[in-house]
Structure formats: structure tokens, C-alpha cells
Amino acid sequence: MSPHRRPLPADPRVRALVAQASHRGALSRRSFLAGALGTAGVGALLAACGTGAPSAVPAPAEDLSSSKKLVRWANWTQYLDQDEEGTSYPSLEAFEAQSGLSATYAEDIDDNDTFYGKISGQLKNGQDIGYDVVTLTDWMAARLIRLGYAQKLHKSRMPNAENILPGLEHVDFDYGRTHSLTWQSGFAGLAWDKEKVPRGLHSLEDLWDPDLAGRVEVLSEMRDTIGLIMLSQGVDPSSNWSDDDFYDALELLKRKIESGHIRQVRGNAYTQDLASGDAIAVIGWSGDITSLNYEADGRFEFAIPEAGGTLWSDNMLVPVGSPYLRNAEELMNYYYDPEVAAQVAAWVNYITPVEGAQEAMVAIDPELAEDPMIFPTPEILSNVSVFRTLTPDQEARYNGEFLTVIGA
């Protein structure tokens, strides 16, 4: 199976969408301040006696990069090119050789929330969490930036950062990419078993076909499942939609779950259910289906619904307590080299955020250079949305309601 990152995104070329969302910069600042005023996170809870006393925004750690040639990176599983044996990362080894830095790479992230739970206590206190680069999905990256938990990046030390796809440069949570850089992006859409659903799925309505009752699964990632339903209801999830729009989508989901049409709401594990036959039609992630097909002889197919799909990205950030900002920047700069980006994309099969990688890919594998799941066409990109960034209040409320509906 493969990696899966949670969702939420920012995207390539969908400037319109991004432009719409970016007016929320003001809000980001407001919540930034609120975050500075009071925090009681998991760390505080576990440490017991957490008082929740207001704490100042932690100050970035002093940069010791010049004295210690080290950079530590936390990422999701199977999210970086590996050699044949799966024991080493060729692009990372090349980086070490070229930069003289020693890089440690850990596949330590399997869930945004869980990972946040682990590190938030230290982040709040400005302590080193043991990573200099963490890779988090848009909405979680947004939270870290909002709370002042991510260090400001110096573009002057990362010339390649200019290669970022224009559409990804001005995301609502980090306008101008001052604190983050996109790692990879992907779509959420429809996936199905071609043998059992021979006519395929073209829209969410097809997913609700009574013939499929009990064999349908949707993602436990709110922004993807609700986002796709919103799109099917004519609401653009990147727009400034209302509470009613959200609850309309949630209501539909609730009915489909209660009627048993939706068998289960799953995280990454939906791919297991596709493989075992328990699910034959799902809301899923593009890269998963590519990986799954390697093992299943192309039995499955992925498509973005006619009404539109969602696009999410994972972003590299430097945690506030990291003492190796410059080393981290050097690493990010390296991966924004189009040649390196193509090398990674050829292996992970997700959308690369680096301009020029498509041209570089031709040299590696001309067929992949034409793969719309790695290098989406403008048509595809015009049909996907990025779920807008929520205020803390909305995030807590919507997430709570969504989880209640999916029975958790």
C-alpha cells in the first residue's frame, strides 16, 4: 500500500481558487495572535496540571548550521525515491554528497493529528522536536504557521524556490510561501474495481447507485469526502461557503452511512478493502490507486468526478525549535531542482510542485512525463478545488460534527 497523506492542499495552477482563498490572510493573523494568548495542548494535558496559561509565541532557535552539518527530516511512508532494495534513498544520498551535510530521514508521520499531538508540547515551548523539516498537509501546515510554530524561510538562500508552480506560491495559509514549501500534491476523486463496476464512475451520483449499496467506502478525511460531496452539490469547497453548505453535504453523507450504502468510512485502509473485495467503489486518493494497480494488474481505475475533485498538498516546514534552519533550507532548495524533483516524482507518482520537472522527466521516463496524475493538464486542474482554510472554531466544530456522523 502506499503512503497517504491527508489532504488538503494547495494546488498548482488553479490561480482562481487560490486567489479566492487568499483573502483570508487577515484571519490567519488574528488566529495567530489568539494562539499566542493561550495554549493547552496534548503536551500540557499529558504533563498533567496543564494550566493553559497564556504563553508567548516561541522564539526560533539559534541557527547552529555553520557548526554542525546536520539536517533531520520527518516524512510520510513511501514518499521519497528508494533504490531497488528499498534500503536507501538515492536522491538524498546525492544531496549528502553534494552538500557535505549529513541527512537523517524518518518515515515518522502517518497521521497529521497524531503527529501534531506528539510534537505540539515541545513546539509550544520552542524546543527542538528532533526534526528540522517536517512534511504536513495544508491545513496542519496552516495551523503550525498560524501558531508561530514554523520558522521563517530565507528565499535568498533557496534560489530554486522560485521553481514552485505559480498556483502553489500564494496559498491562503502562507501567502508568498514565507514559511513553507510544497512537497507533493495529489487528488481525491473516485476509484473503482473495473471488473465489478464495468461501466465506471463519472460522478458522485454514480457512487450512490443502489447496485453498489454496501460496497462503497469514503475517506475519513473530512476535507476530501465533504469536499467532493460539496462539489457534487454545486458548492466550491475553496469558496467562502456557508454553514448551510457544509451541513447539506454532511446530511447527505449521514444518510448514505445510515442506510448502509456506505459500508465503512476509512483512512488509508480503504485500499485493503478494495484489494479484498469488500469495497468496489470508493472516494480515494490518486497516488494510492497507482500503487495499488502495480500489485493488482491495473484492476482499479481513478477519475476525478465531473463535478470536480479536491486537491491537497503536503508542505515542508522548519519547526520553531530547529537549530539547523540553513541546513533545512539547503535541503529544500535541493529538492526544488527540476531534475531532482522529476527523480522523486517518477518514484512516488504524485504531483510535483516544481516547474520544469516535466521537461526533466522526459529524460527519465517519457511516458510518466505525460501522466496527468503527476503533471496534471490545465483541464484537470481547472476541475479541482482546494478546501479552504478553516478558522480554529470552524475546524473544531466541522471536524467534530463530521466525526460524529462517521461514528467516531
Binding site: 488566529s31 489568539a34 494562539g35 494568548l37 493561550g38 495554549t39 493547552a40 495542548g41 496534548v42 494535558l45 499529558l46 504533563a47 498533567a48 496540571c49 496543564g50 494550566t51 493553559g52 496559561a53 497521521d111 493529528d113 497524531t114 499531538g117 505540539s120 495551523r143 498560524r146 501558531l147 454496501g214 460496497r215 452511512i257 445510515e258 448502509g260 456506505i262 459500508r263 465503512q264 468510512v265 485502509a269 485493503q272 478493502d273 479484498s276 473485495g277 469488500d278 480554529p392 475546524e395 473544531a396 471536524n399 467534530g400 466525526l403 460524529t404 456522523v405 462517521i406 461514528g407 467516531a408
Partner: protein
């Protein structure tokens, strides 16, 4: 218990005062590490849990930010919203406990009584009982998903035999969740019953037979009551973790009628970062288990256990 034992000892030796003091001091020293451990890793966290359950969100704060308060309404809100999950947890745990008893008792009986005097066979059987524990809990549960999958042989066979309606399935049902719970906690049932039956004097069974009790009657009147300590221990060891389990419900359940409170706590804690609700539900779960277990132990009580 060790505290009362310690006090009992000291009173008994009350005649000799100096040794008594020394004994008391020795007891304190011996209890020390345990007490420190309990305070650090039980009392303090439970206190923190209770405190957290009463927190309120920081006004205008970010997701997951709360401040101290005495907001008892958290309990009302949590229970109003999640009481079905709480009740279901106990119901599923009860079903799993009964199932584990029905399956586990005969296993324990065969190992302890039938294989008595054959330590090699006993050891082998015990290893088989415990062997699944060498793999991760999650993997075992996922394996059950595969076993009960629509296209797997269990469902196929049941369909073929018309024991299951053609469109019915096993995964994503309460049955799957209870099966998973039963399977995952079965060794906790088998081992204490095995220990109790292992101590059973086989001469008592002969005495039963000698006093006109058929094998069935002997079992009912002698074996069963004498294995009660194991049965009580086993049912508790299965029931308590099963009531708080969330892995089986999330992997083998669906999203309508299998939600258990552990799942809710997990989601509120890790996904919504609603720590007060998660804490309140944990407290409710803890208190409910304490009450149930207390009532159960009282009922199945000492008089039946000698």
C-alpha cells in the same frame, strides 16, 4: 492490599516495640518505590484527566487550546451526545466476554485437565493459545478483516450453505467487531481459567463420581465452582479492555451501529483535539467500569471462591 498486610503484621508484633518500629520503617521503604510509581503514573494522570475533563476552550483560542475551569456541563454534553457509544461499548464487551468464556473454558479445560500429566503437550497447547500475541494487535485485527471479507472463504461458504443471505456480509457489522474483541482477548480468558483448573484436585472429581454424580453433574457441582476464581479473573481481564477497545470497532466495524466509546475518545482526542470531551468520556468509562466490576466481584464474591 500490601498496605493492610503490612499494618496487620505490625499490630501482630505489637508486643515488642522497637522491632515494630523497625518493621514499620522497613515496610515503608519496601512500599516506597511502588507508592512513588503509583503517585507519578496513576494518581497524577488521573488527577490531570479529571481536571482536563472540566476545562473550557480559551476564548478566541486555536484548535486544541483550553483553560482550567469547573465546567461540569462537559459531562452532560459528552453523555448527551455519546451515550449510545458508551452503552454499546459495555454491550459489546459483555458479548465478547461471554463468547470468550464459551470458547475459552473448554480450551482451558482440555489443557489443564485432559492434558494433565503431559507437560510437553500442555506447554505446546499453551504456546498455541498465546502465539497470536507474538504478532501485533493491529495486524491480528486486520487479519480478521481479511478472514471475514466478502470474497473470502468464510462468507463464500456461508453463502453457499445458505446460512447467510446472498447480500449479507460479515465485515463492517457488529458481529465482526464482537468477533474481533473475542479473538483478541481470548488468551486473557484461557490463561486464568487454565491456572484455576490446573490447581483442581482430580481426586475431587473422583469423589464426585463416587457420590453418584455423572460427569456432567460433577462438572456443574465441582469443576465449575472450583474454577470460579479463574472465570472471574478471566471475565474481568476480557471485559475491561474490551469495553475500552477502539481498534476492533474502527477496523472491523462500520460507521453506524458499531461505534464504541474508545473510538470516540480517540477521535475527540486526536482528531478534534477536544480534550475536555475525551477526558470526560474517559472518566465516565473508568467510573462505569469500576462500578460494574465492583458489583460483579461482590456478586460472584468470596463465598463462592472458598
Amino acid at each position: 492490599m500490601s498496605i493492610t498486610a503490612a499494618l496487620g503484621d505490625s499490630t501482630a508484633s505489637a508486643v515488642a516495640a522497637p522491632p515494630l518500629r523497625r518493621a514499620r520503617r522497613a515496610h515503608l521503604v519496601l512500599l516506597g518505590p511502588g507508592l512513588v510509581y503509583l503517585v507519578l503514573f496513576f494518581v497524577v494522570p488521573v488527577g490531570a484527566l479529571l481536571a482536563t475533563s472540566l476545562y473550557v476552550p480559551v476564548p478566541g483560542g486555536d484548535v486544541g487550546q483550553f483553560q482550567p475551569a469547573f465546567h461540569w456541563q462537559n459531562y452532560v454534553d459528552a453523555l448527551t451526545q455519546f451515550w449510545p457509544a458508551v452503552l454499546r461499548s459495555f454491550w459489546f464487551a459483555l458479548l465478547a466476554t461471554v463468547a470468550a468464556l464459551v470458547i475459552g473454558y473448554p480450551i482451558a479445560y482440555v489443557i489443564a485437565v485432559r492434558a494433565r500429566g503431559r507437560p510437553l503437550l500442555q506447554g505446546l497447547l499453551l504456546v498455541l493459545v498465546v502465539a497470536p500475541f507474538f504478532t501485533s494487535f493491529i495486524l491480528r485485527t486486520i487479519a480478521w478483516k481479511q478472514i471475514l471479507a466478502d470474497d473470502a472463504f468464510v462468507v463464500t461458504a456461508l453463502h453457499f450453505l445458505h446460512l447467510l443471505p446472498p447480500d449479507a456480509r460479515l465485515t463492517a457489522t457488529p458481529f465482526a467487531v464482537v468477533s474481533g474483541l473475542t479473538y483478541n482477548f481470548l488468551p486473557f480468558m484461557v490463561l486464568p481459567i487454565f491456572a484455576a483448573l490446573g490447581r483442581l484436585d482430580s481426586r475431587l472429581l473422583e469423589a464426585g463420581a463416587d457420590l453418584y454424580a455423572s460427569p456432567t453433574t460433577t462438572f456443574r457441582t465441582i469443576t465449575w465452582p472450583l474454577s470460579m476464581p479463574g472465570v472471574v479473573a478471566g471475565t474481568l481481564l476480557v471485559f475491561i479492555p474490551a469495553a475500552g477497545d477502539y481498534v476492533n470497532a474502527s477496523l472491523l466495524g462500520n460507521n453506524t451501529n458499531t461505534t464504541m466509546v474508545g473510538q470516540v475518545i480517540d477521535a475527540r482526542f486526536f482528531k478534534v483535539l477536544d480534550y475536555p470531551t475525551a477526558a470526560a468520556l474517559s472518566v465516565v468509562l473508568m467510573v462505569a467500569i469500576l462500578l460494574l466490576v465492583g458489583a460483579y466481584v461482590r456478586r460472584s464474591g468470596t463465598e463462592d471462591l472458598l
